[in-house]
Amino acid sequence: MRTKIIFRIAVLSCLFLAAAGVADQRRKDTDLAVVVNPDTPVTNLNVTELRKIFRGERQYWSKNMPVVLLVRAPVSRERDAVVRDICQMTESQFKQYWIARILRAEAVSSPIVVTSSQSANDVVATIPGAITVLDMRDVRPGLKVLRVNNLLPADSGYSISMEHP
């Protein structure tokens, strides 16, 4: 009787651990695409250039085309990737950083916040110079996806991704 119970406990434990393992495996990285308005005169950026852009240090694509920054609302994974991986800041630091830039007269406003990938697609398509970061599966055909370090999303070695449940 005792052996039977121990066996059942062992089976249940194995099932529980296996289920937990499957759940963990479902959490995988999804590449993010750096998307710009089709008129933007750039096709490739390195990570340092991307950081300068999302920190507002580079404000012009060309003489007549200002950079228009779009970021997703807080808590979204795309925003986490922009704030943490590209800008190398925490959410608080990112907020404080933009307030400081405005105080120093280095920027008029902080990045425009978009609450969904659909609206991010819409705004990037509409505003010349707009740039954002989107889940690669959400990018609408017709928008320009930039290469990062000469790589496109899904290429081996592509460096911008988010953990996806």
């Binding site: 406990i9 340092t48 902080s110 609206s119 996806v145």
Partner: protein, 422 residues
């Protein structure tokens, strides 16, 4: 069998407990899932709209391939952002991004602070004070022209004084050349431009002695024209400021707001490097020259040379600045060199203690004997304190200061402040 049921219940209960360990994470996860759901629904709406033939198919751009060639495609011109889906980070801008094209578009941000001080100097009053209430104004006037303003209300014994701290209009040619006209924070000192009236932004309660409000050592404001921009310099990350203006007014503490007191323009140049590979580092130096009339029977040439080394990551934070102010009597050619520096160290604690940031600063000012312009400004001060961030937009600070000045007894003081932005 009942034991088996008991074991199963225990496993399930353990799983539930595990889930309850981090409610904030769970909440974030729910929000993320909801956002994902919103995305999926929006995609579905777009598909339905496309099926109804309301949108035209856009050809992929040569500049970069979309990684997914889904069925949905839209005409950018027919797809303005939905109202309420795009807004400024701090909700100052209109919800519709199309408004980015409307000018002017005034945005206002405020800074405030409430202070308490008590020292063992019996000539100073202890108690609460309101210090400053500051409003920053920013408004794009066109795609390349922007206005910035700053108004400060400062507590005085009988009322609040109102001061136009900054008022400037800037034209951006590109990232390498921006030119502005107006009243600035003089870019001859890092602290003066990085924090100025935004006391919430600075780690400490007070500014360094060399750039104190109401201090004479460095000119805090500057009226004139200023060019600024980055310099193509690869790994160095160079940038510059260069300006010409009225210089100090008849009162050395103020710029020449109504004109140049001696018709002799001041000029300044500031060069600094922010190497991208050393994120957080800024190293720079500046030069400022003016002819001043302190009203003591002689004109003086003032030459300021300054340098700074900044590591603005918070763990650790390191700020160090040095300035030499040389006054040369234009009649006797006698020169006087005044020096000041400060070193500030701070460290944002990790993990749960992250809101806490202890700090220490050492300030030093030296003025030579018989200095004809400043008089005696010598001071040596140690400041030890801690900052606690109540939220992303407000902080408590507490600091102890020990101050030594020649021919005066040492002063110990306790200072408290809550500072915030709104």
């Amino acid at each position: 069998m009942s034991r088996l049921a008991l074991v199963s219940l225990l496993i399930l209960y353990a799983g539930t407990l595990r889930g309850q360990e981090t409610p904030a994470q769970e909440q974030s996860e729910v929000v993320r899932l909801l956002l994902r759901k919103v995305d999926a629904l929006e995609k579905r709406v777009a598909e339905l709209e496309q099926k109804q033939g309301e949108q035209t198919v856009a050809a992929p751009d040569d500049g970069g391939a979309a990684p997914k060639t889904g069925d949905a495609a839209s005409d950018p011109t027919a797809a303005p952002a939905r109202a309420g889906t795009a807004m400024d980070e701090h909700d100052h801008a209109s919800a519709n991004p199309a408004s980015e094209e409307r000018y002017p578009s005034l945005r206002i941000r405020g800074f405030g602070d409430i202070n308490f001080s008590a020292t063992d100097n019996r000539t100073q009053h202890s108690g609460f004070n309101m210090r400053q209430f500051t409003l920053h104004l920013a408004s794009p006037l066109s795609k390349k022209i922007t206005y910035f303003g700053e108004i400060a209300l400062t507590a005085q014994p009988t009322s609040f004084s109102v001061e136009l701290e900054r008022s400037l209009i800037r034209y951006d040619y590109d990232d390498y050349f921006k030119i502005s006209f107006g009243r600035y924070h003089t870019p001859v000192n890092y602290w003066n431009t990085a924090f100025h009236h935004g006391l919430w932004l600075q780690t400490t309660i007070s500014r360094p002695d060399m750039i104190q409000f109401g201090g004479a050592f460095l000119p805090v404001h500057f009226v004139g024209v200023l060019a600024e921009g980055s310099i193509p310099s690869g790994a160095l990350g160079l940038a510059y400021d260069a300006g010409v203006g009225n210089g100090r007014g008849p009162n050395l503490l103020r710029p020449g707001d109504t004109g140049d007191v001696n018709s002799n323009r001041a000029w300044l140049a500031n060069l600094y490097a922010r190497p991208p590979k050393l994120d957080g580092l800024q190293v720079g130096g500046s030069v400022y020259q003016d002819k001043i009339n302190p009203g003591k029977g002689a004109d003086f040439q003032e030459l300021i040379t300054a340098a700074h080394v900044i590591w603005n990551k918070e763990s650790p934070e390191f700020l160090a600045e040095f300035a030499n102010v040389r006054h040369r009597n234009l009649i006797t050619s006698q020169t006087f060199n005044n020096q000041a520096f400060y070193i500030q160290l701070a460290y944002r604690l990790p993990g749960e203690a992250r809101p806490w940031k202890p700090y220490y600063r050492y300030d030093y000012i030296f003025t030579p004997a018989n200095e004809p312009v400043f008089g005696l400004l010598d001071v040596e001060r140690s400041t030890l304190g801690v900052r606690y961030d109540i939220s992303d937009l407000a902080a408590f600070k507490a600091e102890y200061r020990n101050t030594r000045q020649p021919n005066k007894s040492r002063v110990n003081g306790l200072f408290l402040q809550t500072s915030f932005t709104f």
